[in-house]
C-alpha cells in the first residue's frame, strides 16, 4: 500500500524518476514479490493499472457488491423455491419459477402491458419532444421561459404527478373530462375502463417526460450548423421539407440516447402506478411486470417467484441498454 501511495504522490507532484534517476535509485526497493506482481499486472493491463487502483477500486468493489452481488443473489433466489419465512434451500436449484412465469397468464399480460407501455411511451415522448424542440428553436420570444415550462414536469416526483393525473382523470369533475365535455365528447372513465387505462397512463408519463426529450433534441438542433438551414433554403426547400429531409435525419444520435433513457424510465413506471392507487394492484388493465413482481414478493411472500420476474425485467432492461452500448462502442464513444 505504501508503494502505491508513494507512486501516487510521485505522480501528483510530477516528480518523474525516469528523467532524474540519481537520487531515486536509492529509494527504489529491490524487486520483491509485490513488485513482481505489479510488473506482471502492468504487462497485462497497462502501466497505469496499479497506480490508478486507489481511484477506481473502492467504487468498483462497492458497485460490485451492492449492485452485481445483489443481482447475482437475486438470480440465485429465483432458482430456489424460497417462500414465506422459511430460509431458502440453495442446494436444489432449478428453473421451475421461470417455467411457471411463462405459463402464468397474469405474467404474460403484465409483460404485454410492459412492452406496450415501453414502446408507446417512448415513441410518443420522442415525437412530442421533437415537436417542442423545433418550435422552441424557431427563435421565438420568451424562448427560455417556454423551455423551463416544458421541462418543469420532469423535475416533479412521480408521486406528485400521479396525484395530479388522478384528479385530472376524475370521472365527474376531472379537467380532462370537462374539456372533452366542451367539445361534446362524453365523459370517459380513464382509469376505470380496462381498454383505456394503459393509454391514460402513457399520456400522463408522456406529459412528464416530453420536456426531457425536448432538451436533448434542442441540444442536437443547436449542434447543426446554420449553413445546413441556409443551404436548404437556397435550394428552395419549404420549412417542412427542410426539417424532414435535412434537419431531423441529423438528430439520430439525440434520438438514440433519449430513447434509451426513456425506455429505462418506462420500465420503472412502478412508482407512478403505485402512487396512482396507493397500493400494489394498479387499475385493471395496467398491470406491468414491476407491480406484479412486488405483489408476488410482498403480498404473497413468493420471494423466488418475485425474483424470477425481477430477473426477467432485468433482462429486458439489458436488452435495451446492450445494443446502445455496442452502438456507442462501435462509434468510438466509449
Amino acid at each position: 500500500m505504501r508503494d502505491i501511495l508513494r507512486t501516487v504522490r510521485r505522480r501528483l507532484t510530477h516528480d518523474d524518476p525516469s528523467t532524474d534517476g540519481g537520487t531515486i535509485t536509492e529509494q527504489r526497493p529491490s524487486p520483491g514479490a509485490t513488485q513482481r506482481v505489479r510488473d506482471r499486472l502492468g504487462d497485462r493491463f497497462g502501466s497505469d493499472f496499479v497506480e490508478s487502483l486507489p481511484f477506481w477500486l473502492p467504487t468498483f468493489l462497492l458497485m460490485g457488491l451492492f449492485v452485481y452481488g445483489a443481482i447475482i443473489w437475486n438470480l440465485l433466489i429465483s432458482l430456489t423455491d424460497y417462500q414465506g419465512f422459511v430460509q431458502p434451500d440453495y442446494t436444489n436449484l432449478d428453473l421451475e419459477m421461470y417455467a411457471q412465469a411463462f405459463t402464468d397468464s397474469s405474467v404474460v399480460s403484465a409483460s404485454v402491458n410492459t412492452f406496450l407501455l415501453l414502446i408507446a411511451f417512448t415513441l410518443a415522448t420522442l415525437a412530442v419532444g421533437l415537436g417542442l424542440a423545433i418550435l422552441v428553436d424557431r427563435h421565438i420570444r420568451f424562448e427560455n421561459t417556454f423551455r423551463t415550462i416544458y421541462l418543469l414536469p420532469m423535475s416533479l416526483s412521480f408521486v406528485v404527478t400521479a396525484q395530479f393525473w388522478l384528479w385530472m382523470y376524475n370521472f365527474n369533475n376531472g379537467v380532462v373530462n370537462i374539456l372533452l365535455g366542451v367539445v361534446g365528447l362524453g365523459p370517459v372513465d380513464w382509469l376505470g375502463n380496462q381498454s383505456v387505462v394503459l393509454w391514460a397512463v402513457v399520456f400522463a408519463l408522456m406529459w412528464q417526460f416530453s420536456g426531457y426529450a425536448m432538451v436533448v433534441y434542442l441540444a442536437g438542433l443547436r449542434a447543426i450548423p446554420t449553413e445546413h438551414y441556409e443551404a436548404a433554403k437556397v435550394d428552395g426547400a419549404s420549412t417542412l421539407k427542410m426539417y424532414w429531409r435535412v434537419i431531423v435525419p441529423q438528430l439520430k444520435g439525440s434520438t438514440i440516447s433519449a430513447s434509451v433513457v426513456l425506455m429505462v424510465f418506462a420500465l420503472k413506471a412502478f412508482d407512478f402506478l403505485y402512487s396512482l392507487v396507493s397500493g400494489y394492484r394498479p387499475p385493471a388493465g395496467s398491470d406491468i411486470l414491476a407491480t406484479k413482481m412486488v405483489r408476488e414478493a410482498y403480498s404473497n411472500l413468493n420471494w423466488a417467484y418475485g425474483s424470477a420476474i425481477a430477473i426477467m425485467l432485468f433482462a429486458m432492461a439489458l436488452s435495451i441498454i446492450g445494443p446502445y452500448l455496442v452502438y456507442q462502442f462501435r462509434r468510438g464513444n466509449l
Binding site: F45, G46, S47, D48, F49, W56, M63, V67, Y68, A70, I71, N74, G84, F85, V86, S106, L166, N170, F171, N172, P187, D189, W190, L191, G192, N193, V264, L267, K268, F270, D271, Y274, V277, S278, G279, Y280, R281, P283, A284, D287, A290, M293, V294, A297, Y298, S299, N300, L301, N302, A310, I311, L313, F314, A317, I320, I321, Y324, L325, F329, L334
Partner: protein, 441 residues
C-alpha cells in the same frame, strides 16, 4: 510512442467497463425497482430481563383518522398500566401493504419487532416459522373464557396461540342515508333478501336522483367483500363455509356472482371504477347515494361527519339475508418467535386482550371488543347495537377479504380474478371459474 497509445487503449477499455457498469447499474435499479428499504426500524430494545425499564417495539398501520386517535388512546392506557416503554411505530400507506412489507422484510432479516398488528385466522399461515407461542399469555389471563369461541379458535395455529385480539369489525352491513331512502319510499328494515334489495335499489333509481348503491371500485377488495356478503345472504352459511374450506359448490358461487353482477351492472355510479372508500362514504354522507355495503369502519366515518346522526340521518342493518350472522373481522397483535423482547412483548399482549385496552381502543376506532364481559357504557349507540348483534348472532363466519377465512395467497388470487373478470364488463362464468379454481384444494 507506441507505449502511450497502448495505455490509452487500455484506458478506453477501462472506461468501457466503467460505463457498462454504470449503465447496468441504471438497469439494475429498474430491475429491483420498488422493493423499498423496508425500514431500519430501531433496534427494538435490548433484552427482556424483567419488565422494569424494558422497551417493546410494536408496529401497526393506524396512521390517520379514527385509527390514529384509537392508537393514541391505546398507548395512553398502556402507559397507565405498565412500566414497559412502548415504541408504537405507525407504518402507513396502501391499506396495510406497507406495514406488511416492512414486517416481511424484518422477519426475513431476523430483525423482528416485539409485536405487530395483523389479521389472525388463516392469515397466520403467511408467517409460518416466524411466530412464537403465547399459550402462557392466554392461559394466565384466562382469555379463552373471556373471549368468544371463534376468537379462541382463530388465534391458534396447529393448537398454539400466536396472537391476541384487540377488537372486531363487522363485515355484513348495509348502511343507508335516511333522507334518500325516505324520498324513494323504501323501508330499509324490510330488506331481508336479495330480491327486496334489488326492488329497493330500483325504487331509488326511479324515484330520486341519487345513486342507488355506492361502490368504491378503485381497489378490488370492496367487490370481493361484497361478493362474500351476497354469498352468505343468498346461499347461506354452509355454502360459504364449503367455499372457504376448499370444496365450493359451483352453482352457489355462480348464483352469488349473478346477484352481485345485477347490482354492479345497474345500480352503482358511473365513476365507481375510480371511486375510493372515502369518496364512497362521502356519497352517503352528502345524500348522493342511498345504500352502501361496507365493514362497519364506515360507521366511524359517519359518526365523525358533522350533523350526521345515527338513526336520524343514517341507518344500518345486516346485509340482506345475513340477519342472524356477524361476519367476523379481527384486529390482532401477532407475536414473532425469536422475539427481541419476549417479556415486554408478552406484557404488551396481556394488555391488548384486557378490558382496559379494549375499552380504550375500540370506541374511537368504531369497532367492538372481542371480550364478552366488557362494560359498553363508553360505546356509542351504534356500537352498542353492533355488540349486541355480536353476542346474539347465530353464526359468526370469518371474513373472506380480511385474512380470517383463506390464506393470503388465495385471497390475492381471488382479487386477481375480480380485477381481471369482474370490474366491468362483469363476466360471471369466468369469475366463477376463477373463484372455484382459487379456493379448490
Amino acid at each position: 510512442m507506441p507505449r502511450k497509445t497502448y495505455s490509452e487503449l487500455t484506458r478506453r477499455r477501462f472506461v468501457t467497463a466503467g460505463t457498462v457498469a454504470a449503465a447496468l447499474g441504471v438497469a439494475g435499479c429498474s430491475g429491483d425497482g420498488g422493493d423499498g428499504d423496508g425500514g431500519d426500524g430501531g433496534d427494538g430494545g435490548d433484552g427482556g430481563d424483567g419488565t422494569e425499564a424494558a422497551t417493546v417495539e410494536v408496529l401497526h398501520g393506524w396512521t390517520g383518522g379514527d385509527g390514529a386517535e384509537a392508537g393514541e388512546a391505546l398507548v395512553a392506557a398502556f402507559e397507565e398500566e405498565s412500566d414497559v416503554t412502548l415504541e408504537f411505530n405507525a407504518i402507513g400507506g396502501g391499506g396495510n401493504e406497507n406495514l406488511d412489507a416492512v414486517v416481511a422484510n424484518r422477519l426475513s432479516n431476523n430483525d423482528p419487532p416485539g409485536s405487530f398488528a395483523n389479521w389472525p385466522g388463516k392469515n397466520l399461515q403467511r408467517y409460518t416459522g416466524a411466530l412464537g407461542s403465547v399459550d402462557d399469555v392466554w392461559e394466565e389471563e384466562g382469555f379463552a373464557d373471556s373471549h368468544i369461541q371463534e376468537a379462541v379458535d382463530l388465534h391458534q395455529q396447529d393448537g398454539t396461540f400466536r396472537a391476541v385480539p384487540l377488537g372486531s369489525h363487522r363485515l355484513n352491513n348495509l348502511f343507508w342515508n335516511v333522507e334518500v331512502v325516505e324520498e324513494a319510499g323504501v323501508d330499509p328494515s324490510s330488506i331481508t333478501d336479495m330480491s327486496a334489495m334489488v326492488d329497493a335499489l330500483d325504487a331509488v333509481a326511479t324515484e330520486t336522483n341519487a345513486v342507488p348503491m355506492t361502490h368504491a371500485m378503485s381497489g378490488t377488495w370492496t367487490t370481493t367483500q361484497l361478493w362474500a356478503a351476497v354469498m352468505l345472504g343468498t346461499e347461506g352459511v354452509d355454502a360459504y363455509t364449503n367455499f372457504i374450506e376448499g370444496s365450493p359448490d359451483r352453482a352457489a358461487v355462480k348464483s352469488a356472482f349473478e346477484s352481485t353482477a345485477e347490482i354492479l351492472e345497474n345500480y352503482i355510479s358511473d365513476d365507481a371504477a375510480s371511486l375510493d372508500l372515502t369518496g364512497s362514504n362521502n356519497n352517503i354522507i352528502n345524500g348522493d347515494a342511498a345504500f352502501i355495503h361496507q365493514g362497519n369502519w364506515a360507521a366511524g366515518a359517519y359518526g365523525n361527519a358533522e350533523g350526521f346522526e345515527y338513526e336520524a340521518d343514517w341507518g344500518a342493518k345486516a346485509f340482506p339475508g345475513t340477519e342472524n350472522m356477524y361476519t367476523l373481522h379481527f384486529d390482532s397483535f401477532l407475536y414473532p418467535g425469536d422475539n427481541p423482547t419476549p417479556e415486554a412483548s408478552k406484557e404488551w399482549l396481556r394488555f391488548v386482550g384486557s378490558e382496559a385496552a379494549q375499552t380504550a381502543f375500540n370506541p374511537p376506532k368504531g369497532s367492538i371488543p372481542t371480550r364478552t364481559d366488557v362494560d359498553l357504557s363508553e360505546f356509542n349507540d351504534y356500537l352498542q347495537d353492533a355488540a349486541a348483534d355480536f353476542e346474539e348472532a347465530e353464526h359468526r363466519p370469518p371474513t373472506l377479504q380480511h385474512g380470517l377465512a383463506v390464506v393470503r395467497e388465495t385471497m390475492n388470487a381471488l382479487n386477481d380474478v375480480i380485477a381481471d373478470e369482474f370490474t366491468g364488463p362483469y363476466n360471471v362464468e369466468a369469475a366463477t371459474d376463477g373463484f372455484v379454481d382459487a379456493v379448490s384444494n
